[in-house]
């Protein structure tokens, strides 16, 4: 028995013993998630218990060094833990942009002081982070962002606006891109800055989407003073950090959506229920053929993800394929949500109130919400551009 097998057995036993039963079912809405932070709330006592147990074992950030609140696991052990969590159907004990996105950046590019100041709080869910990238004039063309940070002594003074900041209204800190030098080519004048959301001059306004309320916010900065030690990397070196971080974001978007989908009634069973069955098959043959095509494509996408993971594990360098999975995953998600409301017919048209079940109302909202998935985190068009140039080598 190898050391890894030992670890697997140990992890499995611990999870079996420590993950509450209610935390082994998929969440039925975003409200059930645990995000931590100064103003942390928990959907249930089980959610709190699960979070605390995982936090205390360092498994909220399993592969981070123990010194920074992590679990100190090797990459291989981390994968084993993920497999065991998936096997048991465990919910994420802590959702965190800090762990998924900022942490890896700080570990790579942060000073020792920055690591000590921030990582433990992130791993332990004490501080909640948000990401300040997009601006109204800089969507797909992220590098044209304009929020200014002017150095004054040992501070930067930041003014401007961010948009699409997820959970900015609930976050304690923000990592963001700012323009420190407008006189150089646009990618060279960008810096990566950490900002305490409690600083004077910051105001936040939630954004309402076509699907209703959303975690997104607009964030306004008016002469906000940020200590210069909160600059990550060198001044003007923010773009490289930003692009490396975007890869983590793409992977994350795919992962989170998948978990939600598991809680939904299968399309095939909706079809049988609403359109009727004939000899155990969906009675409407045209719909059935569409469901089959969708099922085949979802299966192929899942296998492609597994193949890529196996190849990376076997030592092949990970490439721009994250763009493929971002693109395919979100387009498939949109198809699935569209199919669901189509199957439901009149029952898939509800917005609120009487006459519709909660699942039907979710179907409508999810369908609308899915429309944003191929825009946020780099639109489908941006992903296709990346694939054309970086993977296929087509000329600019």
């Amino acid at each position: 028995m190898s050391a890894l097998d030992d670890f697997r057995a140990e992890a499995r036993a611990w999870l079996e013993a420590n993950c509450p039963a209610s935390m082994r079912t998929p969440p039925s809405s975003d409200d059930e998630d645990t995000w931590g932070g100064r103003r942390a709330t928990f959907f249930s006592d089980d959610a709190r218990l699960w979070f605390e147990r995982m936090r205390d074992r360092g498994w909220t950030a399993p592969t981070w060094p123990r010194a920074y609140g992590g679990g100190g696991l090797s990459e291989a052990e981390g994968r084993v833990l993920e497999e065991e969590l998936r096997r048991l159907g465990c919910r994420m004990a802590l959702k965190s942009f800090g762990i998924w996105m900022l942490g890896p950046v700080l570990l790579e590019a942060g000073t020792e002081e920055q690591k000590r100041e921030h990582l433990t709080g992130i791993a332990r869910g004490e501080l909640r982070w948000c990401q300040g990238y997009s601006e109204p004039g800089a969507g797909s063309d992220l590098a044209s962002l304009g929020m200014r940070a002017v150095r004054e002594g040992d501070h930067y003074v930041v003014s401007g606006q961010k948009i699409w900041t997820s959970h900015a209204d609930k976050a304690d800190w923000m990592f963001c891109l700012v323009r420190t030098d407008p006189s150089v080519p646009k990618r060279d004048g960008i810096s990566f800055l950490l900002v305490d959301m409690a600083s004077p001059g910051i105001s936040v306004r939630p954004i309402r989407l076509i699907s209703g309320n959303s975690p997104f916010c607009e964030t306004f900065f008016d002469g906000v003073r940020v200590p210069a030690r909160n600059l990550v990397g060198r001044e003007g070196g923010g773009w490289a950090i930003a692009t490396s971080l975007l890869k983590h974001e793409r992977a994350m978007i795919a992962r989170i959506r998948d978990a939600r989908a598991e809680a939904e009634e299968a399309l095939e069973s909706i079809a049988k229920r609403v359109l009727g069955e004939a000899r155990g098959e969906v009675a409407d043959r045209v719909v059935r053929a569409e469901l089959a095509q969708l099922g085949i494509d979802v299966l192929a996408n899942k296998l492609a993800l597994r193949r890529a993971a196996e190849e990376v594990a076997a030592g092949r360098p990970a490439g721009a394929e994250s763009s493929m999975f971002k693109y395919c995953g979100t387009e498939l998600g949109k198809r699935r949500r569209e199919m669901r409301v189509r199957l439901l017919g009149l029952s898939g048209l509800g917005w609120e109130g009487e006459g519709f079940t909660p699942a039907e109302l979710s179907a409508t909202r999810d369908w609308l919400r899915s429309r944003a998935s191929s825009i946020e985190g780099g639109s489908s068009e941006i992903q296709l551009n990346i694939l054309a140039k970086r993977v296929l080598g087509l000329p600019a």
């Binding site: 797909s140 948009i163 017919g345 009149l346 898939g348 369908w367 489908s380 068009e381």
Partner: protein, 377 residues
């Protein structure tokens, strides 16, 4: 030269679009939604539309209407579609009134039709019972009672059902669900004992209700009980074609807004409309729209001239309107990017309307099937 508008038709189209632009732009629907307006449309705007004759199109002059055809009504609906203006045009002018006109007795027509034409009366069709359009799937029963009929059953999707003054109810006097024979039409006052309407809050913020009939005594029988299906399907075809015209207007408008955005929005130092991938998608969508426009216009005209091919054209029109409108809104969202999914922009209203309109009176799949059947395959 049926595709070319006459002087009169051009005047109607202009009057409709002027009135809608002034009184019922998309902001009007937004305000009704945000204020949770109990009626769901503006009676005042509707009366103004009636005053210029829009509520009376299709109603003979003798009953206070203009006696014009579906081609003209299509122009008004297209204008309303551009602004997503909520009116009882579909429930009352396309459905309730034509059924009363075709099958009501003279007294009923003389009483109801002038009120419709003046915008005072909403007459809804209570028909659909399931989650998908199925014209013959009716289980609501009509039982003989005191020389008339008593109705019992539930209708799942009645346009303007919670504000209707009266209903035309489809009920069964014989046969099982799905049998086209055995259907009958009844006129029922909304105030009749046993009528229970529950408003539905739909994604497009337009009016619909679930309506239950608990042993309701019908005020009148329309036509011959048991033989209503042919008339019902013919009137439904008018509504399908009219709705397709509304959808065409919506698709056209959301495409126009997208084009404007493509020309205005700058990214990477240029207007995003200069990117060839977007240009080709926009050009292909333009073709899609032009083809849909042609078949929608022809369907309306075919009904007006009593063409035996009308039903087939209507199904072609409704099927294409469904896919084109939905596709135009999907491209609008994607090309607008982030702002396209915010409630602040109007694009979402078009997305939502496209979905509801596709489902109403049979979605694209329903009409593809019907087109095939009517084409003999």
């Amino acid at each position: 030269m049926s595709f070319v508008l006459t002087e009169e038709q051009r005047a109607i189209a202009k009057a409709a679009s002027d009135l809608v632009a002034r009184r019922a732009p998309v902001a009007h629907l937004r305000a009704l939604r945000d204020s949770r307006d109990p009626v769901g449309f503006s009676r005042e705007v509707w009366r103004e539309m009636a005053s210029v004759g829009f509520a009376g199109i299709g109603i003979p002059e003798a009953h206070g209407g203009s006696g014009l055809g579906l081609t003209e009504l299509g122009l008004v609906l297209e204008a309303c579609g551009r602004a997503l203006a909520p009116t009882p045009l579909v429930s009352t002018v396309l459905l309730g009134a034509p059924l009363v006109l075709a099958a009501g007795d003279e007294a009923l027509r003389a009483r109801e039709l002038p009120l419709v034409a003046s915008g005072e009366r909403v007459i809804a069709l209570a028909h659909e019972e399931g989650p998908h359009h199925a014209p013959t799937r009716v289980t609501t029963r009509a039982e003989p009672h005191a020389g008339g009929f008593r109705l019992t059953g539930e209708k799942s999707f009645v346009l303007d059902g919670h504000v209707a003054d009266a209903f035309v109810v489809v009920a069964r006097v014989a046969g099982e669900a799905d049998d086209p024979r055995g259907l009958a039409l009844f006129f029922v006052e909304a105030s009749a004992p046993g009528v229970h309407a529950t408003r539905l809050h739909l994604v497009d913020s337009r009016n619909a209700a679930r309506v239950r009939f608990d042993g309701v005594t019908a005020a009148a029988t329309l036509g011959v009980p048991g033989e209503a299906f042919a008339l019902l399907d013919r009137v439904l075809d008018g509504a399908r074609a009219g709705l397709a015209a509304e959808m065409l207007g919506g698709a056209d408008e959301v495409f126009a807004r997208t084009l404007a955005y493509l020309k205005e929005r700058q990214q990477f130092g240029v207007a995003i409309g200069s990117f060839q991938a977007l240009q080709h998608r926009a050009a292909d969508l333009y073709c899609d729209l032009e083809l849909t426009r042609s078949v929608v216009l022809e369907a309306l005209r075919a009904i007006d001239r009593g063409d035996p091919e009308a039903a087939r054209l209507v199904s072609a029109a409704k099927a294409r309107a469904g896919t084109t409108f939905s596709r135009a809104t999907a491209e609008a969202v994607q090309m607008h990017g982030g702002v396209g999914v915010t409630d602040e922009l109007d694009i979402g209203f078009f997305v939502k309307r496209a979905r509801v309109a596709d489902v109403t009176f049979g979605d694209s799949a329903f009409h593809r099937d019907r087109f095939a059947r009517l084409s003999g395959f």
